[in-house]
Symmetry: D4
Subunit: 222 residues, 8 copies
C-alpha cells in the first residue's frame, strides 16, 4: 500500500505552499515514503497529527527533522519567511495547549512570525484586557477556545484585524466534544471572525499564513 | 373545557408565590376563569406568554390589570416587596427586549427591586466594563443573550453574586433557535452560573426572587 | 509548560472565592506548581476532576491535603464558614454518587453547611415525600439525577427555595450521555429551577455557596 | 387520485380492529370514498387528524358521524364494548387537551371504558397523590405530558398496571417540539412504561384497547 | 457507601413485583448487601446488567443464584407463575442475542411463559411469514431489532395483540447507536406498538408481565 | 438577474441527459428564459419543484408544455425511449403521492417505461406480498416511504434488482421531517439498496434512468 | 424603546469600520434613530437584513440612501476605498443570489473592489475550471454554496489565496437548512478555508475587507 | 447459541446472490458453522467485518479461504463472472483504504470486473480531471470519501453512469464520524447519485453488482 499516495508536487505552485502530510491514518512507512519524495524537491516537509511512536520511526530513517510531542507535528526545514506582519495565537487554558502548539509549529514552518498569549479566559477578562495593545498590534489573531468558546467573540470586538477562531473539544457534557463552541463561534455576534474545524490549529494558521503572504505579494506589486 | 384547570391554591404556601398562569395554549375564557378564582384569594395574578388579542379580551372582563405588549405579560396587583437586595437584568441587544421585559415584569410583580442594563454586548466589551461597578453591586445578575451567548460567561467572571443565564432564540443559522447559546451557557468556563430555558425571562426572575426571599428570611431568622 | 498557568490571585477579591483548579487536562507537575502558588496566599486550595494517580503524586509533594476518590477532589484547607443557611444535596441512586460527592466536597470547602438525601427516585415517590420537611427546611436544594432527570421537577414543586439541577450521564441509550436529562430539566414545568452542565456537581454547589454568601452579606448590611 | 387507497378489509380479522383512517394528507373526497367503502362492511369508521373544514365536508355527505374539534376526530358508530377493565387517561395541563381528546375519542370508539384525570402535574405532586387510588384502580394508565415529560415516571412508580406514555410538543425551547419528553420518557428510571410518538394519543389508546381485549379473550379461553 | 441503597420493600405491594436491581454502576459489595436484604423478605431477586466478574463475586457469597452471561442477569428464585397467556420474543439476528436473553430471563423470573422466535429479519420476510401462526397465537409480542428497526412494523401489522418494540444498538454509522431504530419504531406506521429504551430487553418484558398479570387479575375479578 | 443562469449545453453530452431545471428559488421569468435557451437545442425540457402559479405563467409564454400539479413538474417534449427494462415505483400511502408523481413524470420524460404500485405498506404486508411477482419482474424498484421507512427494507429482501429508496417527510414527531426514515433506510439490514434525499422522487428516477441506459448501451456494445 | 440602542461611536477607531446595523428585530423608528446618530459623525451607514417595508419607511425619512431588495441592504455613503487587492464572490446558483448580493453590497460599502462569478457548481466542474485564472487572480475568494457545499473545497484547492466559505440554506431535506453545508465546509479536506454562519454574506465580506485593509496598512508601514 | 442462525438458502434464488455473512457480533464458532452450511450448497462464501483473530480461527478449520486484513473480509470461492461492464472504485485518501478494500473484495467475489482510482481528492482537482476518460469509461462509479464528502458531487457531474457514494468516518470534529459527509452526499446538487451507509463499501458494491447483472440479464433477454 506504500505507493498509494501520489505526492502533489504542483501544489506549491498552485496554492503557495507544498503539500502538507496529515499523519492520522497513515503508517510510518507511508509517511517515510512521502517524505522521501518531498524532500529532494521542496527541501522541507511538515507532518501533522503524527503520534510519538510513528514519529520516532520516521526520525530513525530521516533524522534531520524535529518532533513536537504536544503539537504532534514533525517538521523538516521550513518555508521562506513571510516578510510582513505577524500572527498572535491566543488560547484560554492549559488544556488547549496541543491545539496551540500545532498552530505555532505550522506557522513557523510556513514562515510566519508567530507570537502567543496564553491562559486568558473570558472568566477573568481583566487579564485579557491588560494585554489589549498586544492584541491590537497583531496582524491576525487566532483564538483557540473550548468550553463555550466565548473568548473569540470578545477578542473580535477588540481588534481591527481578522480573527480566526478554533473551537476545541476541551470541556465535557454540553460541550459535545467541541460542537457547541463550533456552533457558538459561527453564531457569534462579533464581526470579522471566521471559523475552522474543532481542534484544527493547523487550518487556522494555514489561512493566517495565506493572509500574510497576500499582504506581502500585494505590497510588492504596488 | 373552561373548568379543567384546577387552581393550585396551596402553592403560595408551599412554594412562596401564588400560581402564575402560563397563557400559551389557554383560551381567554380559560384565563378569565382562572383569574376569577385567583383574585379573591390572592388579590394578585400574573399571566405570562399572553398575546395582545387575548389580553384585550381578559382586560375587557377584568379591567384592573396592566398589559405589557413587549413582555406579553398581564399583571394584577403584586406580591409584597422583598426587602433585601436587587436584581440586575443585563441584555445584549434590542432583539432581546421581549425576554428582558418578561423578566422585569415578573420581578416587579414578585416584589423584587429590578434594575436593567441594556445594549451591552461582548463585541463591545468596554461598554460592559465601564459599568463594572453596577454589575458588582447587584445581588443577582440575570444575563439575557442570543447569538452565541458569550455575554454570560464574561459577566460571571466579573461578579461574586449568582448569575442566571437566559439563552435567546435571537440569531439565525447555527444559533439553532437558541439551542446553541443554551448549550454554550451550560458549558461555560465561568463558575457561578446556572441556566434556564430559551427565552425564559420569567423563569430566571422567578429564581432570582426566590434567592432574595431566602436572604430576607434567613436574615430575619438570625 | 509548567509555568503556563497564571494564577488569578485577584479572583477571590473579584468573585468571592479563590481560583479553583480544574484538574482534567493538567499534569500533576502543573497542579503542584499551581498549589505552590495558591497556598502561601490563600492557605487553601480545591482541585476538582483529578484522578487517583495524579492526586497521589500531588499528595506526595504537598501532603497536607485530602483526596476523595469518589468525588475525584483534592482539598487543602477550606474557606471561612458561611454563617446562614444550608444546602441539601438530593440524589437518586448509587450511580450518581460521584457527582454528589463532588458537590459535597466543594460545598464543605467553600464553607457551606451541607446535608444529603440519597436514594430517592421518582419511581418511588413516597420515599421522597416522607422527607418533605427535610426538603422544605433546606435553604437551597441541589438535585442530581440521570436517566430522564424527572426528580428535579418534583422537588422544585415541593419547596419554596431555589433548586439547582444537575443532570448526569447515568443511564444508557436515549439518555444520550446526559443530554436528555439536561434538556428535560431545562424544559421543566416547575418554576424556580436552574440547570448546570452534565455531572457538574461542583458548579451547582459553587452557585449555592454564592447564594448563601449573598444572604449572609445582605443580612449584615441590614 | 380518489381510488388510490385500497381499504384493508382483512385488517379487522387480522388485527382485531377495522382500518382506521389517518386524515392528514388526504382530501375530503378521498376520505368520503374510504368511508363509503368501510361503512357497509364494518358499520363504523374512525378518522383521526382531520381538520374542521374537511370534517364539515365529509359530514355534509355522510351525516351520521360526530366531529370532535379538539380531538380532530370524526367517528361513525363504534366497536363492540370490551367487557373487562378500563383505561385512565392522565394529562398535565390544558395545553395537552387535543392529545387527551384524541385518546378519549379513540378509546370510546374502540369499545373501551375510558376515564380521565386532568391538570395533575409533577410541579404540584400532592394533587396527583391525592388521587392515588384512582390511579391504582385503573387497568391501564395513559400519561400525556409535554415540557420535560416527568409525569409518566412518577405515575409508573405508583401503579402496578402498564403505563403508556405520550410525549407532547407542548413547551418551547429545549422541549424541541416534543423530542425532549420523548427521549426522557424512553430513558425513564421507572419500570413498566412504554412510549409512543409525540402527540400520538390515538396510538397509546389503540394499544390500551388491545391490552383490554387480550384480557377479555384470555379470560374467556380460561 | 454500601448502605446507601434503601431497598424499596413496599414496591411489590405497590407495583406488583419486588424491586429489581440494576447492576450497572453498583459494586459487588453493594449488590450483595441488597440481595441480603431482599431474599429474607421476598425469597427471590433479579439483578440485571451485571458483568461476569461481579456476578462471580456475588455468587461466591450467595451461591443459590444462576448467572446468564449473554443476558448479564443474575437470578435468585422466581415470582409466582402468571397463569394466563404467553410472551413471544422475536429477534432478528445473532447480534441481538444479549437483549433477547435479558428479556427471556426477566420474563421467566417474573413468572411469564416465554417463547422465542429467532433469526427472522425483514430482509428475508418469508421466514417470518412462515411462522405467522406462531406470531398470531402469542398474547404479546416483543420485537427486538437493530439496524433500521423495520421488523417491529411488519410484526405489528400481522397480529392483533400488543407489540412492544426494543430498538438495539446493533449496526453502525447511521444507526447512531440505536437512536435511529428508536425514532423509526416510534414513528412507525403500524398501530398497536409502543417502544422502550435502546437494548432494554428487561423493560419490554416487565411491561409484558404487567399485561399478563392484568389479564389474570381481571379474569379472576370477573 | 434573468441572465444569471448559464445553461449547461454540454451536459447532455457529458451526463447523458440535458440539464433539468430545479424550479424552487427561480422566478417564472428566469425559468422562461432558460426554457427559451434549452428548447431550440434539445427540443425538450423538464422543470421540477415549480408551483402552480409560476407554471401557469410559464405556460402562458411557452404553451406546448404540460403541468402536473401533484408532481409540481412542467414538461416539454421528452427524451428518446430507453429500450430495455422498466422501473417500478412503489409507494406506501396517499400522502406520498407528490413524491411518486415527481418520480413518474421524471421517468417518462427521461424515456423510461414506468409502472406504479400504490398503497402497499409494511403494516399490511400481505397486500405487498400478493404482488411479489410484479416486484420481482421490475428492472429497478423505487420505494417511496415516510413514517419509519421500513417498506424499502422489505422490498429489497424480495427482489434481485437494485432498490432505490426515497424517504419522505410524511409523518410527525419522531419522523423529524424525514430525517428518521432517511437514517433508517441508510442503516437498513437489506443489501442492494441505496438512498436519495428526502422527498427526492426526481433523483431516484434519474438514477434509475441511468441504470437502464447503461444496460441498453452495454447490450449494444456486446 | 427607541433610545435603547447606544451607538458604538468608538467602533471605527477600534475595529477599523463604523458600527453596522443589523436590521432584523429592530423597528424602522429604531433604525431611523440610529442612522440619525451615525450619519453626522461617520457620513455613512450600512443596514443589513432590513425588509422592503422598513427600508421604504427609513428612506422616506432619510432619503439619500439606496436599498437593494435582493440583498436586503440599505446603504448611505461608503467607506474610503481600500487600495490593494480585490475580492471575488463565487456562487453556485440563482437561489444563492440574496447571500451574494448581501456580500457584494457590504464589500462596496466597505471600500473593497468586488467581482463576481456566478452559476458555477461542482456538478459542472468544467465551467468553474474554465475560469481558473480569474479565480487565481483574486486576492480573496468568497464561496457561497448551499446543498452540500462542495464548491468551496474545490475552489480552495485551486487558489493560493484565502477562501471564505458561506454555507446557505438553499436545498431541502438533508440540507438541514444549511447545517449540513456548514458542517461539511468546516470538515473540508482543503486547506486555507474558513467558514462563517449560514447565509452570512455580510460576515464573509467583512472579514475580506479586514484582510485587504491589513494588506494596505502593512504595505504602507513597509 | 451456535445453531441460532438459520442460513437463508433461498436467498440466491430470490436475490441473485447467496447469503453473505456479516461477521461483527458473531463468534468464530458461529461463523464456522454457517460456512459449513453454505459451502456444500453454494461452493462459495463471503464474510465481511471479520477481524483478524476470528478469521485466523476460521481459516484454521476451513483453510481454503483468503483473508484481506485491510478489507476485513474472508472469501471462499466466488460467484460466476458478470459478463458486461465494470465498476470503478474511486477513493480520496489512504485513510479510506479499508472501505475501498471491502468494496473491491466484495466486487471480485460477486463476479464483477473492478478497477480502482486512488488518491484523488477535490482539493487537487486536476489529478481527478486528468483521469476523466477513465471515469467516463466506467459502467458504474463508486466514490468513497470522508471529511466533507465533496468528491462524489464532482464525479457525478462528470459521468453519465450511476454514481454510488460511500461516506466514511475519516475526519474529525465536524465530520461527526461520517454523519456530515452522509448528509452532504444525500443533499448533493449533482444528479445521478445515491448513497449507502457510512463506511459501507460492501453495500455500494453489492448494488453495483446488481446493476451489472441487470444489464447482463436484460441484454440476454433482448
Amino acid at each position: 500500500m506504500s505507493n498509494e499516495h501520489h505526492v502533489d508536487f504542483d501544489r506549491e505552485n498552485r496554492t503557495g505552499f507544498p503539500e502538507i502530510i496529515y499523519g492520522e491514518g497513515k503508517t510510518s512507512t507511508q509517511i517515510i515514503n512521502i517524505i522521501h519524495e518531498l524532500l529532494p524537491r521542496h527541501h522541507k516537509a511538515l507532518i501533522t497529527r503524527i503520534d510519538e511512536t510513528k514519529a520516532t520511526e520516521v526520525l530513525h530513517h530521516i533524522p534531520e527533522g524535529r518532533y513536537n510531542v504536544a503539537a504532534r507535528t514533525l517538521v523538516y526545514g521550513q518555508c521562506d519567511p513571510i516578510e510582513l506582519g505577524h500572527v498572535l495565537v491566543v488560547s484560554a487554558g492549559t488544556s488547549d495547549v496541543p491545539v496551540r502548539e500545532e498552530a505555532v509549529e505550522t506557522g513557523q514552518w510556513l514562515g510566519c512570525r508567530v507570537e502567543t498569549m496564553t491562559d486568558v479566559g473570558v472568566a477573568g477578562i481583566d487579564r485579557l484586557l491588560s494585554q489589549k495593545e498586544t492584541l491590537q498590534n497583531a496582524s491576525i489573531v487566532i483564538v483557540i477556545a473550548g468550553m463555550e468558546g466565548a473568548l473569540s467573540s470578545v477578542v473580535a470586538g477588540l481588534v481591527k484585524r481578522p480573527v480566526l477562531a478554533v473551537p476545541t473539544s476541551v470541556g465535557y457534557g454540553a460541550n459535545l466534544e467541541g460542537i457547541t463552541p463550533l456552533l457558538a463561534m459561527v453564531s457569534s455576534c462579533a464581526s470579522g471572525m471566521s471559523v475552522v474545524n474543532i481542534n484544527n490549529g493547523f487550518g487556522a494558521m494555514y489561512q493566517a499564513a495565506q493572509i500574510l503572504k497576500l499582504a506581502a505579494d500585494l505590497s510588492e506589486e504596488r
